[in-house]
Symmetry: C2
Subunit: 457 residues, 2 copies
């Protein structure tokens, strides 16, 4: 029997198993669920054993990490599948209209509703079930596959970094397959091949050493809010480009292949604008909205604080004005280099009438797998076969810190094959997972190992 025949025959039972998995309230953030986390890791461990995997539960300072491996073959290369069994808190409960109890999942209108359905139990389960289909039908699996399933993704993956470091030799992999992100539409399966990095800092300008009466002093001293606004204003030109010298030096132009692929993504400027109740879109000239949001670096004010912010007015020249700023950076930019350039530039443009202090915050590099790499192309073929749609590549504008961890600790690239749809309500009430995505996800995973197979030698 072929793996996907086996899947067809066993699908109802497999969905029942997913329901069992979903019923465990594995909310990592809430201490009252600490026992549930252990129970969930144990359930997962037992389930993997039943599939035919060799399982270890590793206790951590937080919640357990479950490792499950296919029977080892020394002649085969290894791949990792990453997923997480912890879920977000369910509050606010009144938002759950499709199922009253977020941990009592229900199937309705072609979806399965419940906490963790999409993020990430359902997505993770497609890979487990694919391996089951392969192993139980005695089909050829060209790789050793190890499932790394953690219980702290929703609270920052605190234990993962050290775990990877300690088990680096044992966990070395060709790549890490991750289904924990989204696809743009059911008609548009996609591999995410690049992520933006981020860096954060805060600028404080001080004028007079205290708030001053604006009647007595107004006009006689520089208002630090004016200085701050002028400095911030100068950080972008009228074309929406960042004016910091060297800001774009390492940014590589998008290839014609990439830009062509992005056109397949189901984005529409008009409906995007309406969804945010915007009067007019704005962004860097020469780029589409999709490109601006995922391929181009940015400098954003995240917060402004100055003077009096209560009701009514207070006639002061404020002493201090400050801005929280983050930059999104793109592949080939280095977070620390860009941080330096931006902060130095801001110091340079500070007028002599105020004092400046910059507090640097966190910084993370961007991430890229070359989109025409054999692995990405193999993943695209698997998606195309499973969804019977032309797949595409995409970039994410945000960051996924664990991808950097896998790169740094294991030297492994990530293959991000997201199965969550934009309306899946991850982190919100009425979280759901499309059964079509579940079915096609299992198929994608089965095809993926096939498609990667020529790369195994």
């Amino acid at each position: 029997m072929k793996p996907l025949e086996y899947f067809k025959k066993n699908r109802e039972r497999m969905l029942e198993e997913l329901m069992e998995f979903l019923r465990i309230p594995s909310v990592s953030a809430q201490p009252e669920h600490k026992e549930d986390m252990q129970r969930c890791a144990k359930w997962l461990s037992n389930h993997c054993k039943a599939i035919g995997l060799n399982v270890e539960i590793h206790q951590t300072k937080g919640h357990p990490i479950v490792l499950a491996r296919t029977p080892h073959s020394a002649s085969k290369r290894s791949y990792m599948v990453y997923g997480h069994y912890d879920v977000q808190p369910v509050e606010p409960l009144e938002g759950w209209t499709k199922t009253k109890n977020p941990f009592e999942p229900v199937v309705k209108e072609g979806n399965i509703y419940g906490r963790g359905t999409s993020d990430d139990k359902g997505q993770l389960f497609t890979h487990l079930k694919a391996i089951e289909c392969i192993l139980k039908t005695g089909s050829e699996l060209p790789f050793n596959v190890v499932f790394l399933m953690e219980g702290e993704e929703e609270i920052g993956s605190g234990s993962l970094s050290q775990f990877l470091e300690e088990h680096a030799a044992d966990l070395r992999s060709e790549a890490v397959v991750i289904s924990d992100t989204g696809m743009p539409a059911i008609t548009c399966p996609a591999v995410t091949y690049a992520l933006r990095g981020v860096l954060a800092f805060e600028v404080f300008l001080t004028g007079p050493d205290r708030d001053l009466h604006s009647g007595i002093h107004g006009g006689g001293v520089q208002n630090p809010a004016h200085a701050l606004c002028s400095m911030i204003s100068s950080l972008h030109d009228s074309q929406g480009r960042v004016t910091v010298p060297g800001f774009y030096d390492e940014v590589e132009p998008l290839s014609p292949y990439e830009r062509e692929q992005f056109k397949k993504l189901p984005h529409n400027d008009e409906s995007y604008k309406e969804s945010l109740k915007l009067k007019k879109l704005f962004g860097e000239e020469g780029y589409t909205t999709v490109e601006r949001r995922s391929c181009r670096p940015t400098l954003e004010i995240n917060g402004l604080t100055c003077g009096y912010q209560g009701t009514g007015s207070k006639t002061i020249v404020p002493s201090v004005a400050s801005a929280k700023i983050t930059c999104r950076i793109v592949p080939h930019q280095k977070a620390d280099v860009i941080m330096d350039r931006v902060c130095k530039h801001i110091e340079n443009i500070c007028p002599p009438t105020v004092s400046i202090r910059i507090v640097r915050g966190h910084a993370g590099d961007p991430y890229i797998v070359e989109p025409d790499s054999p692995k990405v192309q193999a993943a695209l073929r698997a998606l195309g076969r499973a969804f019977e749609q032309e797949p595409t590549i995409m970039r994410e504008g945000g960051s996924i810190p664990i991808t950097m961890e896998f790169k740094r600790k294991l030297g492994a690239e990530a293959l991000l094959i997201g199965l969550s749809l934009p309306d899946d309500n991850a982190h919100s009430p009425n979280e759901k997972f499309s059964l079509e995505c579940f079915d096609n996800g299992v198929a994608t995973s089965v095809y993926l190992w096939e498609e990667l197979s020529p790369l195994s030698s």
Copy 2:
């Protein structure tokens, strides 16, 4: 006996009386002192009767207003002296080092320390004692003088406006003499002849209808903080001038006489800068710091609010950015006209990518008595004789709303003869009043009626 001979003979007794006045804790803001306010009005009333004045106590919704008149002569014109018997709260008590009890005044090092000494019981008392000196020596008083003494100055003079309206016919005056402001130095007596007005509004810019994930959306939408900063930045040019069209249209150039007089004021840029711990002064080109702070209109950001303001960073494109703004306006500018021009300009420069909403706040016109008017010149002569120093004219950068009330309700100009020194700690612990200012204040008041006398016909 001449009035000032009488003063010399009775000075110690008069200081004792002032102490009695100061001992009444007439804190208008604190309900627990409501009875003290009545007691203070009663004390003042009795005191005025003893001087020889005809007194009325008018109850209000707040604290009483005391009217005290010199014996009426139908052939004489009338002047008003305004003062207030209420004082600021005394907290923080630990700041009072010169006298442990702010309501137990002490004389030390040529000053009298205690709450209300300078603001305004001590200053008001100089005029009462001058009238006593004139009346008790049977000297000629060329005017009817009415003392209007209120108990709500420190809480906004809430009852005064209606009172003036109801008693307008009865209170019509040539001018209102007010000693409730400052003089630049004991060596520099001055008449304040102009005050700035003020207008307040708040600007709200809205981009997306909610805070957005800066990874997912950053670059694709206009950040309202950027728009706000660019707009604010453009409101001043590099010479510190406000760029709003028509902003300066009604502003009259300073006369050579005014600019010459201001040079006498004891201001020093270097020590001003140091007193505010500023690195460098900044203001409108072509004007001195004194002129910038008192004679030129301004546009000041009083507060900025946008996005995330807590600890650390939050990677959002904020939905809303707002600024609290006030303008100080100068004589011949009209508050409502300037409000219109500024708000319309700000609406005009708002980019089409964000929505703007402006909430207008309070607005008050500026105030001026022509500095070469006979009354101002008479007041200067009185100050010069009393202090034996060359007096000058000055402008205040702030507003004194009651001056506008007297102008509006009684058609009377204010003669602002401030006797408070810059280190008198008005509103702060260790409030004091210089005995030299007290003595010279009584003399100024005696001379003032003399000097105004030629204007009585």
